[in-house]
């Protein structure tokens, strides 16, 4: 696959057009965001250009991409279940999973969410944590799930925030990465964070196990990610988009 990408001069990257600040689409059709810049940098170091595709996250997460795109640089958490269908590089950054609740409900601790509805994105580790099926790829610890808390899924994490911002109150809480939650709060969505981070996720670049032979591509991607760590590129991008360096394990 590496040879094919190099001879075409293009690498097809799966991204989310609605996952600010990691990735989002602009009015002229181009993409921007932390993940987008990481993808552009990876392509640059491979000596090719990027073509962004926009499959649903649940499609990317399930593997079996039918060769519709080559890699996913989409802040995907390395979990045991996903390792079964996807090949991951070494993590390019780590985020804490942060719980948030709607401001006027008045919940101040995680226990207050017992029996409540929590909005999560489809196919995300946040959904898996809520339903008790999450096993992190690096064996990281998970906080206990509030008793009886129910998951309410939307297509993407941002849909949860956007529906609350437009006035809907289908769920009481929202679980997503701390970066996404902070972005929504900064934009004025009436959420407030509650409790400490529930777990820390290693996020990596992924390729499809069912794709054509890609051992060389995988090795190259790993090498590039390691390089971007040591030469500070990832830290710089992290500071730019998140105001903190999330590239080392917390």
């Amino acid at each position: 696959m590496l040879a094919r990408i190099k001879s075409n001069g293009v690498i097809r990257v799966g991204t989310d057009p609605n996952y600010a600040p990691q990735s989002f689409q602009k009015a002229d059709g181009t993409f921007d965001g932390f993940d987008v810049e990481v993808a552009n940098e990876i392509a640059k170091r491979l000596g090719v250009t990027v073509k962004f595709e926009t499959p649903d996250f649940s499609v990317v997460e399930a593997g079996n991409w039918a060769d519709r795109f080559d890699i996913s640089v989409g802040s995907m958490t390395v979990s045991e279940k996903r390792k079964g269908v996807l090949d991951f590089t070494e993590p390019y950054y780590f985020t804490p999973a942060q719980m948030a609740v709607i401001k006027d409900i008045g919940i101040t601790s995680l226990d207050g969410l017992a029996g409540k509805k929590i909005c999560v994105g489809e196919g995300t580790t946040y959904y898996q944590w809520l339903t008790g099926t999450l096993v992190l790829g690096d064996g990281g610890a998970l906080a206990p799930v509030p008793a009886g808390a129910e998951a309410l899924t939307q297509k993407t994490d941002q849909d949860c925030a956007q529906s609350v911002k437009s006035g809907r109150r289908d769920a009481d809480g929202w679980l997503s990465s701390s970066t996404t939650v902070q972005e929504a709060i900064d934009k004025g969505t009436p959420f407030v964070t509650v409790g400490d981070p529930l777990f820390f996720e290693p996020l990596a670049v992924a390729t499809d196990k069912a794709a054509p032979p890609h051992a060389e591509l995988q090795a190259e991607l790993d090498r590039i990610v390691k390089e971007m760590h040591t030469d500070g590129t990832l830290s710089k991008l992290s500071m730019k988009w998140f105001d903190k360096d999330l590239t080392t394990k917390q």
Partner: protein
Amino acid sequence: MAVAQAAVQAPIVDAIAQAQRAARRDFMLKFSLTWAVIIAALGLVIYATGNADPAFTLEWGPFILAGIGLTIFICVTSITGATILAVLGALGRLSVNPFLNGLASLYVSLVRGTPLIVQIYFIFYALPLMGVVLDPIPAGIIALSFNYGAYMTEIFRAGIQAVPRGQREAAQALGMPEGLIMRRIVLPQATRIVVPAIGNDFVAMIKDSSLVSVVGLQELLWRANTVGRSNQQIIQALLIAALVYWALTIVFSYFQARLEKRLAKGDR
């Protein structure tokens, strides 16, 4: 005597015609007024929700509207594919060959019996697992062609059957082979009969093409939806999309009306 009668009748005929024209003008005026009032009222209601943001339309409008090209391309290609499938399907349904008849009937029953969106998902997500991987655009076009082809098969079948038997019998009496009868006599007349129904289907397809957005095709609705949700301007974005679909429908309906008028010239 006849000239005198005509001279008396002419002004009366003129007066009647004028009265009819005035009545028609009156009707059209009140009709247009009703449209204008209702649309203005709807516009006011939407404006009053406080969500109207002209800056959003200026910034993202072009991006959303850029999806029109793809939407029209999908529709035109799909209706062509559907028409071809429909003619074949109709011939199959009318065939005396039990295999062809069975095939065509199964096609119609199966495809009319499952939701279009299920077919779209199936072609895009399920076929790859059987080894057939299609890009979003071909997948969308195939799904729409297949689906509309089944409905249009029945329309064409009815159209073919509506061509007067006398036509066929006369052709047979002239010694024309069956294939030539179908091709030169029956099908052309059947086409004229089915044009209104086909036009109707094309109008419906303009809207159904929006379903292809579920497989990530960046046509009109996908753009409006994505942009609207990520910018908290879903009302405006969807309104833009809705207005564009409406405009496309109106434009096409106008051309369809002209085509029908043109084809009906032989009747007058």
